[in-house]
């Protein structure tokens, strides 16, 4: 008895395209063990607000050329999240690796094209891979002191020197920081800031603490 599902968009058997299936059953560039210190230059973890999937990404970047020498990932995610991230990792590292600037231009639709499509309600899964990389790149820029290159979409900058946003404060609070001091320790925020900026950050800490723990 064969009960293959037919993809309503491509007419192919199985729920996903053959390329998706291949990357799902044989994901590329997975990090199978715990990340070793010094093996990677930056990392980032994000969640999908659409379905709750989580993605963790690590990169190794050549300082001089800014090419992505290695990209590894792990996910608590579904078939299409696994396949999309696998494909994305290939796209960023193939042929000697893209530069950071080039990699940041890769969009979820480019992943979709390479995968031969995903069902409509699975598109957010390819967005998750892209989002994880953007966060990882920001982490790299922060670690290498290139604050001006940090771009956080849909967020408001509260410290323009270090390019720290309200989202960073929210994240620090969600990681457990509950006082201004603890947030400062996490983000190095507020160092040498004006009193008014400090007051605003203090307010954000209080707001998010209240929101999540109040």
């Amino acid at each position: 008895m064969s009960i293959d599902v037919i993809n309503q968009y491509t007419g192919e058997k199985w729920y996903y395209s053959d390329i998706v299936k291949d990357h799902f059953f044989k994901p590329r560039n997975l990090l199978l063990d715990a990340p070793e210190e010094n093996n990677f230059d930056a990392s980032g973890m994000v969640g999908s607000p659409a379905c709750g999937d989580m993605m963790n990404m690590w990169v190794k970047i050549d300082r001089e050329s800014e090419r992505i020498k290695d990209l590894k990932w792990k996910t608590f995610g579904c078939g299409s999240a696994i396949a999309a991230t696998s494909m994305y990792s290939v796209m960023l590292t193939e042929n000697g690796g893209l530069t950071l600037a080039e990699a940041l231009k890769v969009k979820p639709q480019h992943i979709m094209e390479r995968l031969g499509g995903l069902p409509n309600r699975k598109i957010h899964c390819s967005v998750l891979a892209d989002k994880a990389f953007h966060k990882t790149a920001n982490n790299y820029f922060r670690k290498t002191g290139q604050y001006e290159r940090i771009v956080v979409e849909g967020a408001r900058v509260v410290d323009d020197r270090l390019n720290i946003t309200d989202k960073d404060i929210e994240e620090a609070v969600l990681e457990g920081a509950q006082t201004l001091e603890e947030v400062q320790n996490k983000l190095k925020v507020g160092v040498g800031l004006s009193l008014s900026a400090l007051t605003e950050i203090e307010q954000l800490v209080r707001f998010y603490s209240e929101k999540y723990y109040g």
Partner: protein
């Protein structure tokens, strides 16, 4: 995958069962030569009418009720909507308050949401962490203006059996009407409506080896329902539309077989279920049973295999020939995680990691052994892929910080949230 020789192990009977060949045989003539409209006064019509009335007698016999207390429907959803809407609209002068639970099927929950827009007030009682509602909490939720209480007989996801008879007594004492969705229970639990004390009960053919698009609603004499379909006077003016004769005949036969085989089949399945649960929880570390271990349907096994996502698990199992389902948000059209697993006080990661195996007449111990041969490998692969380690006693999300800036509608360490 595409291996045509691979044996299929079907373990999603709570979603749908194959048609019993005995049911198919009895339906056959009504798909062909016995095509008459039961409304016709001539011979073809009378024969179709007789077939329906015989089916009604069969169903009434199983339920221990009168024949005019049975309304044939197109299935579980229609039965629930007709019962809830029907009673709400018939009794709205008396009151506008309805009580139900937070683990009901969407056919009930979405209907209640629709009634809310018509200015009915809805109270959803939380179930206990074992997935069973405390009748005292139902009693506490009742008000003078409560007209209707709806509690499912057995839950479709985690199989927990609700204390229906006890709740029925409380509701009766209070003078309200009691509805139960028995779609999953039929075939496994007693359906005597006098013993259960229910006023309305919904059943669905495709959950008990009957045809899809078949079902019945029991409406106790004296309980009024307003129709939701308008047209002819079929089913004593409670369900307009030409009767689906083959489906009705098939439904009655399926119900009869299920009730005759119930005790023996339930005992067989209980043994298999407990064997399966024991192997799952012993052989796959960090696997948690969802819902009460004893007060559950004989065919239901629902576990959260922590740290791995359900859809990925299902696709892997499918490639090994195994069919089952998950409460993961990734597989639902709405992208919402299972409200039933969340109702147990677990974080959404538990729903994301939940797998339901529902056994059936064809399931053997060998099938379970085969699953237990393949599943641990799949879990091993997916756990290697996973970046998270969910606590076994978690009540909050493991990594709320990953969702920063996403307008999280959650409290990080409290029990109610939605991603």
């Amino acid at each position: 995958m595409s291996d045509k020789n691979l044996k299929r192990i079907y373990m999603d009977h709570a979603a749908g069962t194959p048609l019993d060949p005995r049911v198919k045989d009895i339906m056959e003539p009504y798909l062909t030569e016995e095509f008459g409209n039961p409304g016709g006064l001539y011979r073809e019509g009378r024969r179709a009418k007789d077939a329906i009335e015989n089916a009604r007698k069969t169903v009434a016999g199983v339920l221990n009720c009168a024949t005019d207390e049975i309304v044939f429907t197109s299935g579980g959803t229609e039965g629930d909507v007709l019962a809830l809407m029907g009673v709400a609209h018939a009794y709205m002068e008396k009151g506008r308050h309805i009580v139900s639970t937070n683990i009901e099927h969407h056919a009930v929950l979405s209907t209640l949401t629709a009634l809310k827009k018509e200015e009915f007030e809805i109270t959803l009682v939380d179930v206990e962490p074992n997935g069973i509602v405390d009748p005292k909490k139902i009693e506490a939720a009742l008000r003078p203006d409560t007209i209707l209480v709806s509690v499912m007989y057995a839950n479709n996801e985690i199989g927990t059996i609700q204390p229906i008879a006890e709740i029925a007594k409380i509701v009766k004492k209070h003078g309200a009407i009691f509805h139960t969705d028995a779609c999953q229970a039929a075939g496994y639990l007693p359906l005597d409506v006098q013993r259960l004390g229910v006023d309305l009960m919904v059943m669905n053919g495709t959950k008990m080896y009957g045809p899809k698009g078949s079902g019945a609603l029991f409406v106790r004499k004296g309980v009024r329902i307003k129709p939701i379909f308008f047209g002819g006077a079929q089913e004593a003016r409670r369900r307009a539309g030409t009767e689906n004769v083959p489906a009705i005949v098939g439904f009655a036969k399926a119900l009869k077989i299920a009730s005759e085989e119930r005790k023996k089949e339930s005992a067989r399945l209980c043994e298999l279920r407990d064997y399966f649960i024991e192997r799952l929880t012993k052989e796959i570390p960090r696997t948690i049973l969802n819902g009460d271990a004893r007060e559950r349907l004989p065919n239901n096994v629902n576990v959260s295999i922590l740290d791995i996502e359900g859809e990925a698990t299902i696709l892997y199992l499918d490639s090994h020939g195994i069919a089952c389902s998950t409460g993961s948000a990734c597989t639902s059209e709405s992208l919402d995680p299972s409200h039933v697993i969340l109702a147990l006080g677990k974080p959404y990661e538990y729903a994301h990691a939940s797998i339901r195996f529902s056994l059936g007449r064809e399931t053997s111990k060998l099938d379970i052994d085969y699953v237990m041969e393949k599943l641990p490998e799949v879990v091993k692969i997916l756990r290697k892929i996973s970046p998270i380690t969910v606590s076994e006693n978690a009540t909050g999300m493991s990594h709320p910080e990953a969702f920063a800036g996403e307008h999280l509608r959650v409290k990080a360490k409290s029990k109610s949230y939605k991603v």
